[in-house]
Amino acid sequence: MSTDGSLIEQLRGLEEEALAAVETAESGEALEEVRVAFLGRREGRVSGILRKLGQLPPEERPRLGAEANRVKARLGEALEARESALTREDRTEAHSEDLTLPGRERWIGGRHPVTQVVDELVGIFRDLGFSLARGPEAETEWYNFEALNTPLDHPAADEQDTLYLKGGNLLRSHTSPVQVRVMESHEPPIRILAPGMVYRRDSYDATHTPAFAQLEGLAVDEGITFVDLKATLAEFARRYWGAGTRVRFRPSFFPFTEPSAEVDVKRVFQDEAGIQRETDWIEIMGAGMVDPAVLEASGLDAERYTGFAFGMGPGRIGMLKYGVPDLRLFFENDVRFLQQFARS
């Protein structure tokens, strides 16, 4: 009689029994009991059979040993498989909540869209060496007109229909007075930006509001030329609207710059289909070389120093950028409008 034969048979019987027990275990605890009952180091029934290995003649031991290892491995796999199945079931049961319900939010704030445009424009000009200056919104005729080479009896003083204060002062009709104030108080080199509100006697319509944002820039030093003006503003335009942007300078007239220019841009871009497209020419700012009369009025030697200045409307640029059709939307402050820009 072969004892090993009966031991192997016992082992196989045990395997069947254990596999059935694994499959019917309904919880992690039950499964652990099955594991201990069959594979436990001390009490386990498979281990019990292996302990009888010593009773076998040496030549039969390897066969039983191999068979025992196979059974142990098979049981181990079955236990693992059953355990993960049970865990899965567990999870499903525990999470009876509908996780598609909305999460808990916080209110999202945001800077005003015109502020965002100003910040972007300022960011680019900062990289080009400009710092931030400010001046009063209520001004004298001197700073708003006369120091800017605009005699009060010249039609150019009329074109920006000015809001006057009782008592003779006025609300600045542009940010250019800051140019004069900065030049009075600082020695060149001067490179400044002056963002701020300006006021004109315009009725509200889609492209006019009596108060609106403006961004002024001024660079004054020895040796600044019209080429510097063109280069700086073209560089700005390409950084803001993209490297392919085309920039056009057209002669124009402002009393406080000479030569004066209107600056237009044409955006060139690829559409979704990869086709190159371009916009119309869009007027984005006025600019020019600072008129010597302005330098002199500000106390600078116009033979020694030259400079350029520019001014643009962040509101208008915002309209183009965001596709806002009506400037008044920026002042209505409808929260549904403001929220569209609340990303930062």
Partner: protein, 812 residues
């Protein structure tokens, strides 16, 4: 300025470019064309119609039945215009033709009468603004002739935007000068159709009688009493004119630019104004008292009925053209009705004068009336152009209205114009433009503009400025601009060069504004921007010329404007409105000084604390949300130097509800901000809107730098905490309790936090249970229980002694 393409071509015969090309070139020269309109557009179906007979409509008082020959037999047309007359020539739109607006003319019945076509007004054809009646045409024509060829409408009207510095471009000659090949020297005056060359020659040789103060001849005396306002006045008498409608060529020119023909004399003056930019006036000489013309300031109260039919009272701001007795015209602005040229006029006095810009501007403002003449004089009329313009208008009148010139040209000229010669350094051109220009290229850029370069050294040029550029070319830099402009801005390079950093430091308020914006955005607020205008009661600084009564003042604070934005949002169905604004507030200062300006920050809060969530009860914002935000704002603005205190006095108008009102106090004790619940009666909100919270602070003019963060070592040993439930008697505030705890806590005291407030239940009437957590910490060791107990006992003892505060769970 409306410009006729054909007129330009007539002035510059060598100009060969399409209207579109001219439009592009004008834009690149600095004068964008805002509109380009082929006059014949939409008029191809319109013909000349002759009205043969007019009868009353049997069933309508205002309508007439006209027999119209439109070239295709005589048809009946019902017409409502008053100026329709038998024998008249009018534009006619036959049945089946269409008008410029796209309307097709059909066969209709008007009050029972058939109408087969339409007689048209200027307005209906898009040829001018006149809609009062039919467009009357000066015949004869062939009925049925196309209107476009009959009136010479194969022209294009360009609407050129002329900048305020270039009055010389307010004429066809000026525009042609910019465009013609060779510029100035390529121009010639178009021939006058029907002119007798011999008479023209005589006129050109007409003697000029020139005097400085007063000049007489041919029975007329001209005297200038105000040479500053009128440096020159030319007069010429033409007698025996026959005033009648202008010939077709003249009407065509005027119509092409949208001007309405009146009669041959007036049309001639308008033609020369449009061609040369020189305003002219024709007086009926018979109505000029004693044949005397005096140019003087009007006396206050003098009266004149002007050509527009208005009775005007003049003042000393107005320069008047007077006869021996009284004003007959407002100089440079408008003529008088009485001396107007009419069909009875036979002798005329032509005026061609130079008036100074400033006074014309004052007169225009005083009268509230801007005309073609005042528009040009205000900007500057060529001081050398009077003689030429006078001869031009006289030649046209002789050719179209007949008559003869009587006497010499009277030239009253108290102030002679002298041309300026400007120096121009090529080195300066390069210094400003960044590109070198040779003297020869400077010359070839300036000469076409009529700017004559006199001497040619390379160091310095001398440039003579003609009268028509004397207003805008007065300095070297003005010449440099012309060089840049005619050279072409696009031809300058765009190479970014090196630059020196500026000496101006950032204004520190921008940084504070940016930090405040970031903070408020992180608290879930949306930034608003509102105009700085306010109604009465919300501002101290008043506007002289406000846009509306609601915007008559400059705001002295921002919160009322934000309240209006809240009301606006709620009225549009928006909820949970949280807005802030950083902007300027104005207050009155000494008379004559600029108003005081300060930058304020205001915020308004309404609705729930967080977006409503299905799992929570909705929690509305309360006073603690407002206080927390105000504390945070005060901290950021002042770096901790501002304090907050509950306020029971009304400090900020009637805006805040005193039950929940705080003020922020600066280190000097000044109130620098406020916040709290807004009084329901101060705001116009529906009753369901719930509480509204607001705050407003004044930002410092020059904020301090927030400074650097300095690291503090973290404690190496755990701290010890003790909870106490304190029983505060009525009237004792938590901040006093906190201060005492801090004072008594000793060196190891770290912080005290309130974690619960409770009233009622087992708490005796009049008491409040405030639970606080005290934290103690030593840098070098862990504190023992005994040590901490001792400190706590000291604190409890002090609280009991000082304020009568008991501790729950302990016998007091």
């Amino acid at each position: 300025m409306n410009v006729s393409y054909q007129w330009l071509r007539a002035l510059a015969p060598e100009l060969e470019a399409t209207p579109e090309e001219l439009s592009d070139r004008l834009a690149s020269l600095g004068f964008p064309v805002e509109g380009l309109r082929p006059l014949a557009e939409g008029l191809s179906g319109i013909v000349i119609g002759e009205v043969q007979a007019v009868r009353d409509h049997p069933d309508a008082d205002r309508l007439r039945l006209c027999e119209v020959d439109g070239g295709d037999g005589v048809v009946q047309v019902v017409c409502g215009a008053e100026n329709v007359g038998a024998g008249g020539w009018y534009p006619f739109a036959p049945v089946g033709s269409s008008l410029p607006g796209g309307i097709t003319v059909g066969k209709v019945k008007l009050r029972g009468q058939e109408s087969l076509g339409m007689l048209c007004s200027e307005m209906e054809l898009g040829l001018g603004p006149d809609r009062t009646g039919l467009m009357e045409l000066e015949g004869p024509f062939t009925p049925g002739q196309p209107l476009v060829s009959a009136l010479g409408l194969d022209d294009v009207r360009l609407d050129v935007e002329v900048t305020a510095n270039r009055p010389d471009l307010l004429s066809h000659e000026g525009i042609a000068r910019e465009l013609a090949p060779g510029g100035h020297s390529g121009l010639r005056l178009p021939p006058i159709p029907g002119e007798d060359p011999e008479r023209a020659e005589q006129l050109e040789e007409l003697q000029v009688q020139s005097e400085s103060g007063q000049v007489s001849g041919g029975g007329v005396t001209i005297r200038i009493e105000d040479p500053d306002r009128c440096p020159r006045y030319l007069g010429l008498i033409v007698s025996g004119v026959k005033v009648a409608p202008s010939p077709r060529w003249l009407q065509t020119r005027l119509r092409a630019v949208g001007a309405r023909p009146i009669n041959n004399v007036v049309d001639a003056t308008n033609y020369v104004l449009l061609e040369l930019g020189q305003p002219l006036h024709a007086f009926d000489l018979g109505k000029v008292g004693e044949g005397t013309v005096v140019v003087r300031r009007a006396r206050d109260g003098e009266e004149l009925r002007t050509l527009d039919g208005e009775d005007r009272t003049l003042s000393r701001d107005v320069l008047a053209i007077c006869d021996a007795r009284r004003p007959i015209a407002v100089a440079g602005v408008i003529g008088g009705e009485e001396s107007e040229v009419s069909s009875e006029t036979t002798d005329i006095l032509l005026e061609c004068a130079l008036f100074s810009p400033g006074p014309i501007r004052s007169a225009r403002k005083a009268l509230g009336l801007s005309t073609d003449a005042s528009y040009r004089f205000e900007r500057g009329v060529d001081p050398e152009g009077q003689h030429r313009a006078l001869l031009r208008v006289a030649r046209i009148i002789l050719a179209t209205a007949g008559g003869t010139v009587r006497g010499p040209i009277l030239d009253c000229r108290p102030k002679a114009f002298v041309r300026d010669t400007l120096r121009l350094r090529p080195s300066r051109v390069e210094a400003l433009l960044g590109v070198p220009f040779e003297s020869s290229s400077i010359r070839s850029l300036l000469e076409p503009l009529g700017l004559h370069v006199e001497s040619g050294g390379n160091e310095e040029l001398a440039v003579e400025v003609p009268g028509f550029r004397s207003y805008d070319v007065r300095r070297e830099v003005d010449l440099i601009e012309e060089i840049a402009r005619t050279h072409g801005y696009d031809r300058f390079p765009e190479t970014l060069g090196a630059f020196r950093p500026g000496t101006v430091a950032d204004h520190p308020l921008f940084d504070l504004e940016a930090r405040l914006r970031d903070e408020l955005v992180s608290w879930g607020l949306l930034e608003a921007q509102t105009p700085a205008f306010a109604p009465q009661g919300e501002g101290e600084v008043e506007l002289l010329n406000p846009i509306s009564t609601e915007e008559r003042f400059l705001r002295s604070r921002l919160l009322p404007g934000l309240v209006r934005r809240l009301e606006y949002n709620l009225s549009r169905g928006n909820r949970n409105v949280r807005l802030f604004e950083i902007g300027t507030a104005f207050s009155r200062s000494e008379a004559g000084e600029l108003p005081r300006e300060r930058t304020h920050l205001a915020a308004i809060l309404h609705g729930t604390r967080i977006p409503p969530h299905w799992g929570d009860r909705e929690i509305g914002l309360d006073v603690w949300d407002l206080k927390g935000l105000l504390e945070r704002v005060a901290e950021l603005v002042s770096g901790g130097s501002w304090g907050l205190r509950p306020e029971s006095e009304v400090t900020d108008g009637e805006l805040f509800d005193l039950a929940s009102h705080f003020v922020a106090v600066g280190p000097d004790g000044a109130i620098v901000g406020a916040g709290g619940g807004l009084r329901p009666r101060a705001i116009d909100l529906p009753p369901w809107a719930g509480p509204v919270w607001g705050l407003e602070v004044v930002l410092p003019e020059l904020p301090d730098d927030p400074g650097e963060v300095t690291y503090r070592p973290l404690p190496l040993h755990p701290g010890v905490e003790r909870d106490l439930a304190l029983l505060l008697p009525k009237g004792l505030s938590v901040d006093r309790v906190g201060s005492l705890i801090e004072a008594e806590g000793g060196e190891h005291f770290h912080e005290v936090r309130v974690f619960d407030v409770y009233r009622g239940g087992d708490i005796a009437e009049g008491l409040r249970s405030v639970a606080v957590r005290l934290r103690f910490q030593a840098a070098d060791r862990t504190l023992t229980d005994a040590e901490v107990d001792e400190i706590v006992q000291r604190i409890v003892g002090a609280l009991r002694e000082e304020f009568g505060v008991g501790v729950r769970g302990q016998q007091s």
